[in-house]
């Protein structure tokens, strides 16, 4: 008897006095649980404060893991009845419901989201039948909303679930499974400011894991809003103009025209006012988990890469639009003067008969000086200039082109930009390292470069930048898409300050010479006249028709306006669209119209130049 009580006393002493603290810790671990509450993402606005990306509250259906199992005759078994009912109500396969309910990606006690954007009927049915849906919680969950639909999809980008690599790279307090992050465009670029700080809720739970009371609650901090330089009205016109350009191309029997890009920038600040790429995609497709069919539609060859932002990730020969660089470079290097003339007879034979080259105008332009050569886009004149660069040596044309940003990243604050290529001797040597007979830089390479053909590759943004540089006293501003960052309370916490990206170091008189020649392009007798006839503001620009092996010609127009007091530069490209003056020019006219507040008219123009 004493022995019994003594043993019990000894055990009690051992447990409560000697090891009490360990048990106390175990008791705390039993009853305290914490889970995180995701923060609403910051919004994305255009320069006028119009919403481009916002959040909407959808109803998400959660299952408390404590109810994923039930006790049946003393044993824990899967709560199949609940999953069956949820599957029926939500209209999804039971296996999907279970997969999400038993997801191991979440914290052990955190409710599992089995459906987002649940239908009103489903939400109503679940709320009205609490007995059938014990452990099911329907609560608002913010998801991305695109008030302007697919507008500026490539600029905005899209969101998706964080990847394993991102979680690993973000460290212990960083991302966790299931977090939504920016996957492309501004969503990706400004992820750090858009992403808020998640909140944490520490709750006391009972033995079934049901929360009893909140021990501490850190509310989530919403992410910062990002104000873009985009003007959604101009953006809409730009996208519409591109679509019409494709139409025009089809009407002009260029049936392979399915893609294109356009950029509009402020020449003094680098603000990207509009940036469009076709074909585009619908960013809302990424919200609820994409079906295989949807994904196939985005990646099929026939879809022409709708996910690619061609304005910064598309590489093209610039064609005649590059003649502005060739001409300015030649003037700047004193290879020619504005008065230098070339007699174009349709076929240029300066390097000898075996290397004779055609001007696009086989009939010949006759005597051309600098001004008329730019206006007429005379190939013979610029072949001659290219040959002068070659004979002069020192790759001065390439160096000059790079001073306008060609072959370099522009510095744009969007992911995925390509730097293009300015071909030179070193590039050719390495590019053809397995073909020694092709490695040498030839006069023909230089001559081709002079008219923007050959191995030169540019992005539409680079061309717009270069022309903005001509308009801005030879200085190329860093193009940028972010104007301001706003705290959740609306206060500006960061403002972009314009900076110079490249300085071409071109004299004012040479720039003036070029500008007047570019103005002539859109005037009567110029290759862009058809597109800009009757446009109330003087536009300085250049058409281009790029030849691409095995493809129809690519149509270009790039220019700036107003010519006298430049404000905006625009570049338009239509893949396999035919002639720049007839296909790209009219689109550029509409974009300038929107930028300058002029009437937006769709004209049809005929241009046969390159």
């Amino acid at each position: 008897m004493l022995c019994v009580l003594g043993v019990l006393l000894a055990k009690l002493w051992s447990m409560q006095v000697l090891h009490g603290e360990d048990y106390a810790k175990a008791a705390v671990a039993n009853r305290v649980s914490s889970y995180t509450v995701s923060a609403p993402r910051g919004r994305i606005l255009d320069r006028k404060g119009r919403l481009l990306v916002a959040n909407k509250s959808t109803m998400a259906v959660y299952v408390d893991p404590a109810f994923s199992y039930v006790t049946s005759s003393g044993k824990r078994v899967k709560n199949s009845g609940l999953f069956e009912r949820l599957a029926t109500v939500l209209g999804m396969p039971e296996t999907d419901v279970e997969k999400k309910a038993f997801s191991v990606k979440e914290q052990a006690l955190a409710p599992r989201m089995v459906a987002i954007s649940a239908s009103e009927q489903a939400v109503a049915y679940i709320s009205e039948h609490p007995d059938l849906f014990k452990g099911v919680d329907v609560r608002p969950e913010p998801i991305r909303r695109y008030p302007k639909g697919t507008l500026a999809a490539h600029v905005l980008g899209y969101t998706g679930e964080v990847s394993e690599d991102q979680i690993a790279a973000s460290g212990p307090n960083g991302y966790k499974y299931g977090d939504i992050v920016g996957k492309a465009g501004a969503e990706e670029e400004f992820e750090k400011v858009l992403q808020g700080d998640r909140g944490e809720r520490v709750v006391e739970i009972d033995a079934q894991g049901r929360p009893q009371r909140v021990l501490s609650n850190t509310e989530p901090t919403p992410g910062h809003d990002v104000v873009l330089t985009i003007d959604s009205k101009v953006q809409a016109v730009t996208e519409h103009a591109l679509a019409q350009a494709l139409d025009d191309a089809h009407k002009a029997k260029f049936s392979n025209a399915h893609a294109g890009a356009a950029v509009a920038i402020d020449v003094h600040t680098g603000d990207v006012i509009a940036m469009a790429s076709v074909p585009a995609y619908d960013p809302s497709m990424f919200l609820n988990g994409m079906t295989d069919k949807q994904w196939a539609s985005l990646t099929a060859t026939a879809s022409n890469d709708p996910l690619t932002n061609r304005a910064i990730s598309g590489l093209y020969p610039s064609a005649s639009t590059f003649k502005a660089m060739t001409g300015l470079g030649a003037l700047q290097n004193h290879l020619i003067t504005p008065n230098t003339t070339v007699d174009c007879v349709g076929r240029w034979t300066e390097m000898g008969k075996p290397w004779a080259k055609w001007c696009w105008n086989h009939a010949g332009h006759g005597i051309e000086d600098f001004h008329t050569a730019v206006r007429d886009s005379c190939d013979s004149y610029f072949y001659h200039v290219g040959y002068l660069f070659y004979k002069d040596g020192g790759e001065k044309l390439q160096k000059y082109a790079r001073r306008f940003g060609f072959g370099e990243h522009s510095g744009l604050d969007l992911p995925g930009e390509l730097s293009g290529r300015v071909p030179d001797a070193a590039w050719k040597l390495s590019y053809f390292q397995n073909y020694p007979e092709l490695q040498k830089w030839q006069p023909g390479d230089e001559v081709n470069l002079a008219i923007g053909q050959g191995d030169l590759l540019v992005t539409p943004l680079q061309l717009a930048d270069a022309y903005a540089g001509i308009a801005n006293g030879g200085k190329v501003m860093t193009p940028h898409i972010m104007e301001r960052v706003l705290a959740p309370d609306g206060k500006t916490v960061l403002s972009y300050k314009p900076k110079v990206a490249f300085d071409s170091k071109t004299s004012a008189s040479n720039l003036a010479t070029m500008k007047s020649a570019l103005v002539a392009v859109t005037q009567q007798g110029g290759t862009g006249y058809g597109a800009f006839a009757g446009f109330p503001v003087k536009v300085a620009g250049k058409t281009g028709t790029a030849q691409v092996a095995g493809k129809d010609d690519y149509a270009w127009f790039v220019g700036f306006a107003p010519a006298d007091k430049p404000k905006y530069a625009v570049a338009v490209l239509v893949e396999q669209g035919g002639h720049g003056g007839s296909i790209a020019g009219p689109a550029a006219r509409q974009i300038f119209g929107a930028l300058l507040g002029e009437k937006i008219t769709h004209v049809s123009a005929t241009d046969t130049s390159r």
Partner: protein, 411 residues
């Protein structure tokens, strides 16, 4: 002196310690049920149980126990009837799968196995007393054992292993006081151990030959289907076709050996109970402040695991107080047993003491992992009217022996 004389039939220490235990038990049941749905109803039922229990206490106290000495036969019959009564059609009721209640018209009255403990004690006391304190002849031992065996076998057949163990403890205590010679204790102890081994061995052999329990081909298939999860319900129900030892009993024993075997099943209760008691530390969390009990981590916290709540909320000091009260209860009972006018009275008190001692050991021991988990409640503490009434009646019987003790005139 006059005062004492007038109340000479009251054993004040026993009454005081009984009252103290009841107060402490009420406090703990109140605390344990406070967070439950209908908790106050449970508490009221406990108070009602105590009130009802006062009747058999007073009756037993006033009743001259000696009148029962010659009634071995009728007592054994009554005992047997009580034990098998829940299985009788019309008056029995099944609760949680076990037939252990008497009910009239669906209204549960009480668990007859509880008063059966007292009837068993009186019956065994009567038969042992007839040997005048010397039990050595094999014939006498056999006769006593055959009487003891009747309620024991019947209760084990219910099956109610826990109550069976209480019967064994009662018998052992009374045989000790009743003068069973030491060599018989050794013989009986050894054969008991042999019997247990035989039962488990036979269970294994029978299962194997009859393809029952874990040897059932359906069991093997079910385990495979459940991907090795032996806790799955289909698996368990097939395993329970085991012949002699039920699978859940086997599991409890295995878990007692190694609680980590099954942290969410049978081992879970033990683990949570130990956490509750241990976390109470020196002074406890305070009444109604125990998280293990209020958040329902504890199983059966107002009945079998009431001591876990006590440990958590009153700490080591509360535990020492409770053990101290039990010590006084048992020492005073021992004193009363020693002062009994006759061997019969001594044996009755010894049987009751043994019952209490074993229940205290088993109940508190299981909450701390010293004993395997069985459904034995804690005397005067646990929720449960049948149990409470029985213990109060036992108290009345002890007082009855005290009142008629040696040297008291008039008896």
């Amino acid at each position: 002196m006059n005062e004492r004389r007038r109340l000479w039939f009251v054993n004040w220490p026993l009454v005081a310690v009984g009252a103290a235990l009841l107060v402490m038990g009420c406090l703990m049941v109140q605390s344990a049920t406070s967070g439950m749905k209908g908790g106050s109803g449970l508490y009221a039922r406990q108070l009602l149980g105590i009130a009802i229990g006062m009747v058999p206490l007073v009756v037993a106290w006033g009743f001259d126990y000696r009148k029962l000495e010659g009634w071995v036969g009728p007592l054994v019959v009554l005992d047997a009837l009580l034990i098998i009564s829940p299985r009788l059609p019309g008056i029995g009721a099944r609760v949680n799968g076990a037939a252990s209640w008497l009910a009239v018209g669906g209204f549960r009255l009480f668990q007859p196995s509880e008063p059966a403990k007292l009837v068993t004690i009186v019956a065994i006391a009567a038969i042992i007393a007839s040997y005048k304190g010397v039990i050595d002849k094999p014939r006498d031992v056999a006769r006593i054992l055959s009487i003891i065996a009747i309620p024991l076998v019947l209760i084990l057949a219910q099956p109610d292993l826990g109550t069976g163990m209480v019967f064994l403890a009662i018998s052992a205590g009374m045989l000790l006081i009743g003068g069973l010679s030491p060599r018989w204790f050794i013989i009986l102890g050894l054969s008991g151990a042999l019997l247990v081994v035989t039962v488990f061995g036979l269970n294994e052999v029978l299962n194997k030959t009859l393809q029952r329990g874990p040897y059932n081909p359906a069991y093997v298939a079910a385990v495979k289907a459940a991907k090795g999860d032996t806790s799955a319900s289909t698996v368990q129900s097939i395993a329970d076709t085991s012949v002699l030892v039920k699978q859940y009993q086997m599991n409890r024993l295995l878990v007692f050996v190694d609680a980590s075997r099954d942290p969410k099943g049978a081992g879970y209760n033990l683990e949570q109970s130990k956490i509750a008691i241990g976390s109470g530390q020196l002074t406890g969390a305070g009444l109604r402040s125990g998280t293990q009990s209020n958040l329902r981590f504890l199983p059966e916290q107002h009945t079998d695991f009431i001591f876990s709540v006590t440990g958590e909320e009153l700490g080591f000091l509360g535990g020492v107080l409770l053990l101290g009260l039990y010590l006084v209860l048992l020492v005073v009972s021992l004193e009363i047993s020693a002062q009994s006018r006759d061997l019969f009275g001594s044996l009755i008190v010894a049987g009751i003491m043994s019952m209490w001692t074993f229940q205290i050991l088993e109940n508190m021991g299981m909450t701390m992992g010293l004993m395997p988990i069985t459904g034995i409640p804690l005397p005067f503490m646990s929720f449960g009217s049948s149990f409470m009434v029985t213990n109060l009646m036992a108290m009345g019987m002890v007082l009855s022996v005290w009142t008629r003790r040696r040297g008291v005139p008039g008896y």
